[in-house]
Symmetry: C2
Subunit: 387 residues, 2 copies
């Protein structure tokens, strides 16, 4: 497979967009992506597209891919919607990377879009519930927060972590979100407030959960040896991997680790030829604070049961050894399901190019981690400023 | 890109499966696929999967891919759901072909599944409607049959075709379906009955429309140079292509031709190095009889406006020069949306291997054609018995 690079990445502001349809949101993200490409290029060069969307809401429920790409005038090329719950965006990127890597395509758009705020609170919970297992979890009455609460209960029981460490994830990510003009929550939160928030599913409280978000993101994937035609500062995708698992927690050997993530990470590290200690910064899938701690462990940043120490010690703060979620993460930046995996790229694209302004962290090797359901599917990517 | 081959393909019977969930349907198709592989192989060789599903019905609405693949014990590999309306299966196959072709994966499962009969008639129409454009067609009250009726009106106005030629498509496909033990309708229909059926959307009548179907299909894609490890009779995928377009008819320059199909076909023919006249038999997307006539023209089997002559002259009969839809097509075999594009492969796999029993047609070069919506997306594949 030939090497590939990302030469443009952009997104909408994340938050509430009651006046924009998914088509308009997608077009806004596309325009931001085009804007991020340093040198003019012909939009007709784009010869395929993969669009991540879970499809919540009452709009175009089938054939969403061509629906949003035709709205930006992109027709006549293979376009498809990828749906892997909250990892839809990550898998759209995975397909784009492989489509260019295979030599079949030369410029592939990886995008994602979701409009969640069209739904009232109750229906929003329903749709999130379908990201988990339907037969044994959703239909038994378990909310999606409930699934992660079960994981958190077990994690707190098996490790020396306490709920405060979950809250510290929220505090850190809000600190970063406060500096991100595209974040849904651009405000800090005190540890006291985060720890004392109303409970939503014991032991998780309101500040352990990501918000409900509208938004879209796009990235342009091209062959590495064509990248400098678009920009002097391409970001190379040197590693990638995907994994899957049983959807229901009861089918898994452990619930305090996500095998799908470990498989995706193993593949990504091996392909990139890097180890977890080489990673300088990461965007991880903190749909709930507990998920960020699992990510530390499953990605090899910490030993099993020890992930909480990283946030406790400040290692994953913006000025720590391994900044995680400089964007604010799903927690503060927001989580427009299908867009999230591509939105992570936008942050790392800006970070690795030194364009992250106040959020700027040091580093040449970055990683993104996107999870579907409670671990039913996952993607991991390694990005580097040099091949 | 390296060459790829299909070494196994299987499906459920198409029809009503009220007692089987999508997981069970998928497993049934998977088992049939495994059964079709001539030599024993380790199921753990499968290292990725793409599952087409539009997701109608009230079951697992998110992360369907891992839901059905974990049910067959396939975990730990990248799995994703592909949704491109009725072309979901075709795009799942396209991804599988490219994943193996790129060298990233060595044995990829392309599957599709749909359960439509869980829905009552009205909801079924609703869900089919979302395969078309939502803003300008569905919300304006247009049914999906209505969209194809508009196309048919125009076709009958612009060409010398009459409604009888549409009915002849139904008669031919029912003749084939009558010989297919997996078909939903295993019975012939007279031209008189087909032509005189109750109207559903002028000029289309009941026999111009495919039925509502439950079913699943699976195919195993491997590198061409590994194929003989699985079977003495691999079917090589020598050509493939995808296309997309505006969803709404009013956005297109013409509605009696589907540009997405022409683009997909051009790419497939070019890659395979064959021309339309080299094709010996084909499975085309006859969701409505008019769609089969458009397919003849868009695939280059007939000049524009002349497709109806093929069915009129019997050229596409099972014993004609170019047998089309020997399976019975969507019309008689059935149309379980997400499974359809993969189910077409099952028929052609059997045909090219000489295993189609009473339906057997002659030929070494076959083509499949799968359309999403009324032409918003399309895939075309060329299959050959030799590379």
């Amino acid at each position: 497979m030939r090497d590939v690079a990302i030469v443009g990445a952009g997104q909408t502001p994340y938050g509430a967009h009651p006046r924009q349809s998914i088509k308009e949101l997608f077009a806004t993200a596309y325009d931001a992506m085009v804007e991020s490409v340093d040198r003019a290029y012909d939009p007709d060069e784009v010869d395929a597209a993969h669009v991540g969307s879970l499809g919540v809401g009452g709009y175009q429920l089938g054939i969403t891919g061509a629906s949003v790409t035709s709205h930006i005038g992109l027709t006549g090329v293979p376009v498809q919607r990828v749906e892997n719950a909250c990892a839809s965006g990550g898998f759209a990127l995975l397909n784009a990377v492989q489509a260019v890597g295979s030599g079949v395509h030369d410029a592939v758009l990886a995008g994602g879009v979701e409009k969640m705020l069209d739904l009232s609170g109750d229906r929003s919970k329903y749709w999130l519930g379908v990201s988990g297992d339907t037969e044994y979890e959703r239909l038994a009455g378990t909310t999606f927060a409930g699934v992660y609460a079960i994981i958190a209960q077990r994690y707190l029981a098996e490790t020396d972590a306490e709920h405060e460490h979950l809250s510290k994830v929220a505090v850190k990510n809000h600190e970063n979100g406060a500096l991100n003009p595209k974040a849904q929550f651009q405000r800090e939160v005190s540890l006291e407030k985060a720890a004392g928030a109303p409970e939503i599913a014991d032991p998780l409280n309101l500040y352990d959960a990501c918000p409900t978000t509208d938004g879209a993101a796009c990235a342009l994937v091209v062959p590495a040896d064509e990248a400098t035609r678009y920009t002097d500062d391409p970001v190379y995708v040197t590693g990638f991997g995907g994994g899957s698992d049983y959807l229901a927690l009861h089918d898994r050997e452990t619930i305090v680790s996500l095998p799908a993530v470990r498989e995706a990470a193993d593949a990504a590290y091996e392909r990139a030829g890097v180890s977890p200690s080489d990673v300088d910064l990461a965007e991880v899938h903190d749909c709930f604070t507990i998920a960020e701690l699992l990510a530390y462990e499953d990605l090899g940043f910490a030993d099993s049961g020890e992930g909480w120490r990283l946030v406790d010690e400040g290692a994953t703060d913006r000025d720590g050894d391994l900044p995680v979620n400089t964007s604010g993460g799903l927690k503060a930046k927001g989580h427009p399901l299908g867009a999230t995996g591509v939105g992570q790229v936008v942050e790392l694209f800006e970070q690795l190019r030194g364009e992250a302004d106040e959020r700027q962290a040091d580093g040449d090797v970055a990683l993104s981690h996107n999870v579907g359901g409670s671990g039913g599917a996952a993607t991991v990517f390694v990005y580097e400023v040099a091949r």
